[in-house]
Symmetry: C2
Subunit: 493 residues, 2 copies
Amino acid sequence: MAKELKELTPRSKDYSQWYLDLVIKAELAENSAVRGCMVIKPYGYAIWEKMQRQLDDMFKETGHVNAYFPLFIPKSFLSREADHVEGFAKECAVVTHYRLKNAPDGSGVVVDPEAKLEEELIVRPTSETIIWSTYKNWIQSYRDLPILINQWANVVRWEMRTRLFLRTAEFLWQEGHTAHATKQEAIEEAKQMINVYAEFAEKYMAMPVVKGLKSESERFAGAIDTYTIEALMQDGKALQSGTSHFLGQNFAKAFDVQFTDQNGKRDYVWATSWGVSTRLMGALIMSHSDDNGLVLPPKLAPYQVVIVPIYKNSEQLQQIDEKVAGIVQRLKAFGISVKYDNSDNKKPGWKFSEYELKGVPVRLAMGGRDLENNTIEVARRDTLTKETLSCDNIETHIKSLLDEMQENIYKKAADFRASQIRKVNSYEEFKVEIEKGGFLLCHWDGTPETEERVKEETKATIRCIPLDGDKTPGKCMVTGKPSAQRVLFARAY
Amino acid sequence: MAKELKELTPRSKDYSQWYLDLVIKAELAENSAVRGCMVIKPYGYAIWEKMQRQLDDMFKETGHVNAYFPLFIPKSFLSREADHVEGFAKECAVVTHYRLKNAPDGSGVVVDPEAKLEEELIVRPTSETIIWSTYKNWIQSYRDLPILINQWANVVRWEMRTRLFLRTAEFLWQEGHTAHATKQEAIEEAKQMINVYAEFAEKYMAMPVVKGLKSESERFAGAIDTYTIEALMQDGKALQSGTSHFLGQNFAKAFDVQFTDQNGKRDYVWATSWGVSTRLMGALIMSHSDDNGLVLPPKLAPYQVVIVPIYKNSEQLQQIDEKVAGIVQRLKAFGISVKYDNSDNKKPGWKFSEYELKGVPVRLAMGGRDLENNTIEVARRDTLTKETLSCDNIETHIKSLLDEMQENIYKKAADFRASQIRKVNSYEEFKVEIEKGGFLLCHWDGTPETEERVKEETKATIRCIPLDGDKTPGKCMVTGKPSAQRVLFARAY
């Protein structure tokens, strides 16, 4: 890859193209031959694996276990919950046959009309229906509750306009599906999981989020309440990054899942579901990266440190190799992941821009003078600054540097967001402000009609009714009717 | 669950029913509402996660990285490699439409005929075709090689007769897909991965395997050579447990993937693929378990130790709780996974049979007398023996006990297999011996005709041509024609 091949369209010129350039050139993902489906490339997948591992640990710490349910959902199951089928039927992949056969004219293989399924199967867009049809057999009494299950899986939603990571026909995700004896316990679970997501976003992705409730029209199809975390991208647009749903008894009723409580009374089971997906990759990229490439928070970087030797001849390289071997060992002993790139078919300059593009947090470089002086050059990706330091105790320095970078990356995103959240009091002002992007906190009368009008006229939606912060009542910016609290408006991905 | 609900059909009475009872009652998996698709329950999935984690580490140690490719394969891709389409077209799930709509008569949702795909999509039965269509864009020169990628995914093969874990329409697996500049390197890769599988089977699953090459008729559809590991189940039947394929240039030719070598010459790329699946769960269960339930090698047990308190009153329970807390801490510090079950709605006897059924390697029990004497009862699942030991340094004892059990479980399986491998020299003898089960080492003339005749007449197949062991030539037991070496026959799952 020549240097110019690594150049990205600047964000200021075309943000959307910058994003696409970056995803492709940093080798995170690419479009496949199948419309709307992506290939997640090894470097991108390594970041996703880091996310998965951390989230999985957090789910297990909160008492959840993993399981696996079928990829296919009988068409009739999808139809059981009215809102649910309404939400997913229009964009789903339908399996109708189970065999191909040779074409009579020898032109290849064709669908065998004799192998038609009695009932069509839907490739899961989400698994509430297949899971609640299963829970029916698992739940008789309060002793069988709660059920706290998570699944890592692929799902398919036949989106017409797709964008790598942000909106794809197939994506990877986790979906938690829990069953409870009481309404209150289910609500607590839904809240707990949105808090887990917020903690993950802030501590690991270094991405500040606003936690809140969705308005009725933005709720998950089949939910009573949807909790969401909303992040702000660098272009001033919002990105819904994770949702947790209180499903009430909707799916229990649809699949007739009842239990006997401690007093011998029968009732329907209470439910939640919650999920985050490879969409988080898009959120991560758009929160921190710059015109030189990816910027990764150290906690999610496939490798946190890369070391590049700068040498005149093979003898010098050998000396550097020996010196670096000790440093690598010391870094690893500190739990720091490190790659030593002494490949001889690429020049140091090429390597520097490659690792900058890929967002490796810290780049170390060692040359002939460093050998003499027992020094090493330390460059950090977030600030693009560098300094030359002694090799002694370099591992201690790097360890605290990585912590500092994790915090700095978060702080930068938080400062940006703070500059982009503003209270707006009139609809006139709103129409002007929304063009500048960002999160607008406004009073709203709580009706779908007003929400729809704002959406049609400004393309802005209610991202959430924030859980924390100012709860002062006021008057709707559009209709002047009473408003319980300000809600968060933005244009969104 | 009452005690009788935990009883299994004895193996001697009906091995097949014993297996099914065990999978259901130990809560490993169950059939779903979708024909042929299973639900993997949390306890079963926890074992699978242990397998995944270990295999993934082994793949990474041998230089592989993970990635993700689309679930769907365009029909025309499947057809590109002649043997491949022949092997998979007859049992595949075909997506033909991308939308449902409300039925005109209000009876629910129906497939929208206007949402027909231009080209049907096949739910991947394996991913060679979609991956090699992608590799075409990734490979120009020898510098782009090797590509060493693995994918963890679900696949679908529309099997007509299914059995939990052993043969299901959907299953979970990993599939490695590598690309190389030379034939030799690809062959070495295929061999390396069958060795990785064998090591995993023996060291972690405690399951001895025979490594070998498949005969032509048993090869993977599209492969030049298929390496396999074959295990022997307790009922004397063989189970193919993992395969690694040298694909030659077949898929490179099908997708026109060429590269320029160091001398500027163009050639097609050399390939391998290799996979193991949730079928390994069936292999694990059938290798070690008994009429009381699952027997798990400690290295794959979701928790290695369970502790059950035996108490007369809540005061005594509190004393035991305190004593056990220290033991739990010491066990965990030794890297031993442990569960303390002090739930008060189940009696100790119920818990004992429950954890026996679930194959927890070590069960500790502490009662009033143990409290007085500073002792604890230690029961091991593999031998069903128990002894009372001092609590002092119990963690050291348990640690070495778990190692001993891992070895013992392997040894038991290896001894059983040794008793079931025998050389057979005549076809008459073969027909008698095959009825007794086991692995039969016999001379074979190397022709598909002889192989087919044996299969038709005895239901036995050639499991593999062993890589190690006796290579003395001889005469085919059926035709008397020359044979290069004995091959392994068995009836198989």
